[in-house]
Amino acid sequence: MQILKVENISKTYGTKKSAKEYIALRRISFEVKEGEFIGVMGASGSGKTTLLNILGSIDKPTTGRYIMDGKEIATLNKNQLAEHRIKNIGFIFQDYNLLETMTLKENIILPLALKGYEANVMEDKLFQIAQDLGITEVLGKYPYEVSGGEQQRAAACRALITNPKMILADEPTGNLDSKSGKDLLDLLTFINKEYKATILLVTHDVFAASYCQKIMFIRDGEIYSELYAGDSKKKFFDAIIEVMSVLGGEGK
């Protein structure tokens, strides 16, 4: 089942008059189906973060249509957008973005709390997910009291707890050491399989990308090429490196 569809979206920064116009995205179109684990790769400045912001409805495209959950996102007003974000999208950020005034537990249930869930319903959901993601022990601690890996797992819990249509992960391994990074990627795969969550992972790390089922490469605001994972992870990894070297990205 298709959950989102992007048609010819472009994003331009700066006004046309100022001549400083900068085109971040050019006429991009694609679809995402339920349960997919998609990677978006590209060099710095290729437009991948812009794309992520638009998909996350934090930013709006200059032109083009973006349909999710049967709704044209560009037509929503601010409040509807916020509601849309909280209902349909779960975010995982490079710097975790946990509120340091709250315990991990409070951080995780925050999206549900904002939706007005009952306390016991929230706790039931929380303990299920926290157990799966292995952070039950540290739920009562504050973000600055736990490791980066645990913070990022808490962030993943927060993204997952609302059962969003799509999880957007922006360089989630960027701040983690390689062990924690690998753990997190395994976790995302687990989430993808067990929770049937649709995940869109933005990264420039080839290793992280190799966990995806499909990768879109972006260059100068356009989709340059796409790659699908085959049976062999090694082959997929090599294929990604090949594309990245052509793109001029910084493959490992």
């Binding site: 409040n79 916020a82 849309h84 974000r85 909280i86 973005n97 306390a119």
Partner: protein
């Protein structure tokens, strides 16, 4: 780039942050200058400073204001520096020594300070006339002189010296703040906890017990008890307040957090956790503000209540616009002439006999002292109708009475709570008649020189008078002086008439009272107390409120990224506003409420000591509270204004 150009550039770029800082500096300077200029004003010198009592009152007040201004400036300066932590750490990162940074900040303070000095003094000069007029107007009823628009060089000179000294202290204290910065904080500034405080049940209970004990002592009905325990009350309440904000309130927040169904509602979760996270850093400030608010509201409420009751009080003591006894034959004509001369209409007058009687009565002792005995004491006696006539003429609160046959009402001029119970039921034995005291009333307006007064029913009075048990002549057979009471138009504004009446009566009569004289004397004392109350409250109010503003703006800078994050999760404008309200409102509301509750108990103590004598209604505390409520309301409005300014600024920063 020299330090000086950097300093100028910083001010320009931090202009928005500097506005409030600048405002509070200017306001402090304005306060100091206004006060100093007031002390130099010739009329104020004439009216007050010749009297040692008033002078020491004003000086003490001046010192309190200056100490507070200093405390306020130091603490807002430190908050301001902390709000600029990132910028300052960046200088340090690029190799600027702390000494140099301190110098840079000192330069900035001096630049902003000099502008604030000019503006503060300028505004002070502009308003000096107004302030002097307010003081003289509320404390001198008859003040008619015109106050010149003055620029006082001495006040300017002292203000400038004083503030340059304060700026230097601020520079040093700023340096201390900078020295405490850890460079590494620059990179994790937002991640580090400011020190959340879990609070403790023991502290919570201890603080409530301490405050409660203070309240209990303050609410005691015995004036002497209240006076004796005033210091313990202050210590208990202040100690309890600090404990409450240090350990009690965090515990309360913790308890709130336990109620998950309420706490886990989106906005509550964010706001409560953010507030409890700041508790440690803001606890002392909130406690200080609560205590200062209590002082300020009490001062202003006391002043206002006193001021509003001076007139009532005058009539409750004197009773009429004027009375005198003795020498009527010659004096009345002169008095009437004086009224004519000053073109003042006399509205009412009444002359009556001062009767006396010495019935037998059991000796009454109160405490260890003999209060009344037949051997030493006599009673002034009125018939019911004569008494009612006097009461009707008087401007006091007294009401006409009805006395039954065989009964009597006893009135006494002293304030002592045991007299009434001691005298009620006492039997007065006349040679052929017994009368019992069935009512007692504290009032001096019918005594006219006597310590004990009786009001009898008309027939009892007639009967006793006939038999000579009540007499109008003394042992030697000469008649007692009659008493004349008078009311006239504009009694409290006719200063010259009162002066002339005083001259006519003085020395030529048994005794006399003119309400105007009493009123003016009370006005001078209470007017000054009242003015000091107003001035101090205004200063405390504005400064504590802006202190909270600074603390919250500083917090906003640090909480900014949280809101950015919340927006990504999906928080819309409406909810964000709600969160900000829930986050900021307690910061303003809690100290204000604590301060007002403290003040209500302080007013209860003030009522016991002072007002219950001044305001002659059954429960004077309610009257006092009604007057106080006006001032609490005013205080609340000012805090409300600051709250809205803070909220707007906070919302702007986190947007």
């Amino acid at each position: 780039m020299t330090l000086r150009t950097l300093a100028f550039r910083n001010i320009k770029q931090n202009f928005k942050k500097y506005i409030m800082y600048f405002f509070s500096l200017s306001f402090s300077i304005f306060t100091a200058y206004s006060f100093l200029a007031l002390m130099q004003n010739e009329y104020v010198i004439m009216a007050f400073t010749y009297d040692a009592r008033y002078r020491s009152m004003l000086t003490g007040f001046g010192i309190i204001i200056m100490v507070f201004v200093m405390f306020f400036l130091l603490s807002s300066n430190n908050s301001f520096i902390k709000a600029r932590k990132k910028e300052i750490s960046t200088y340090a990162l690029f190799g600027m020594t702390n000494g140099k940074i301190g110098k840079l900040l000192f330069l900035e303070t001096m630049i902003v300070g000099s502008i604030a000095l000019v503006i503060g003094i300028g505004v002070g000069i502009f308003f000096s006339k107004l302030i002097a007029m307010i003081l003289l107007d509320i404390s001198l009823a008859s003040f008619t002189g015109s106050i010149a628009f003055t620029m006082d060089p001495k006040a300017i000179y002292i203000t400038v010296i004083l503030f340059i000294f304060i700026f230097c202290v601020m520079g040093l204290s700023g340096l201390r703040v900078i020295n405490k910065f850890e460079l590494v904080d620059l990179f994790k500034a937002d991640k580090v906890s400011e020190g959340k405080s879990e609070g403790s049940m023991i502290l919570l209970i201890l603080s409530l017990v301490s405050i409660g004990a203070g309240y209990y002592l303050a609410a005691s009905g015995d004036p002497q008890m209240v006076v004796i325990s005033s210091i313990p009350v202050l210590v208990l309440v202040i100690f309890g307040t600090y404990l409450f904000f240090w350990g009690g309130l965090p515990k309360v927040l913790n308890l709130i957090k336990r109620n998950k169904n309420n706490y886990y509602k989106g906005a509550n979760l964010i706001a409560t956790s953010a507030f409890s996270h700041r508790m440690k850093s803001i606890g002392s400030v909130m406690a200080t503000i609560a205590v200062l608010s209590a002082v300020a509201t009490t001062a202003i409420a006391t002043g206002f209540t006193l001021y509003k009751n001076i007139e009532n009080n005058t009539y409750d003591i004197i009773g009429y616009d004027m009375y005198f006894y003795g020498g009527q034959e010659e004096l009345l004509d002169k008095v009437y002439a004086a009224f004519e001369k000053h073109d003042t209409k006399m509205t009412e007058s009444y002359t009556t006999q001062r009767y006396k009687s010495v019935p037998k009565i059991e000796t009454v002792t109160i405490g260890n002292a003999e209060y009344i005995s037949s051997e030493r004491d006599y009673f002034r006696v009125y018939s019911q109708s004569d008494y009612n006539k006097l009461v009707a003429l008087s401007k006091s609160h007294l009401k006409p009475v009805h006395i039954n046959h065989g009964e009597a009402m006893y009135t006494y001029p002293y304030m002592h709570q045991d007299i009434e119970s001691a005298m009620l039921g006492q039997l007065l034995t006349f040679p052929d008649k017994e009368v019992s005291i069935t009512a007692a009333l504290r009032s001096g307006i019918v005594s006219f020189g006597a310590l004990h007064t009786l009001i009898l029913s008309d027939d009892d009075f007639e009967a006793l008078l006939k038999k000579g048990h009540i007499s109008e002549v003394d042992e030697k057979g000469s008649a007692y002086d009659q008493v004349t009471v008078l009311n006239y138009e504009n009694p409290l504004k006719s200063g010259e008439l009162a002066h002339e009446l005083t001259q006519i009566l003085s020395g030529n009569t048994g005794s006399f009272r003119v309400a105007y004289n009493h009123y003016i004397e009370a006005l001078e004392t209470f007017g000054l107390v009242c003015f000091i109350g107003f001035f101090m409250s205004a200063v405390f109010m504005l400064m504590t409120a802006s202190l909270l503003y600074f603390k919250q703006i500083m917090a906003a800078e640090e909480e900014r990224h949280q809101y950015r994050m919340l927006r990504k999760i999906g928080i819309a404008g409406q909810l964000e506003k709600k969160i900000i309200v829930k986050r900021l409102l307690p910061v303003f509301l809690i100290p204000l409420l604590v301060g007002i509750v403290h003040s209500m108990f302080a007013m209860k103590a003030a009522d016991t000591i002072v007002f219950s004598n001044m305001i002659p209604v059954d429960n004077s505390y309610f009257t006092v509270l009604a007057f106080s409520a006006v001032m609490y309301g005013a205080y609340g409005i000012v805090y409300g204004i600051f709250y809205f300014i803070t909220k707007a600024q906070y919302a702007r920063i986190v947007r």
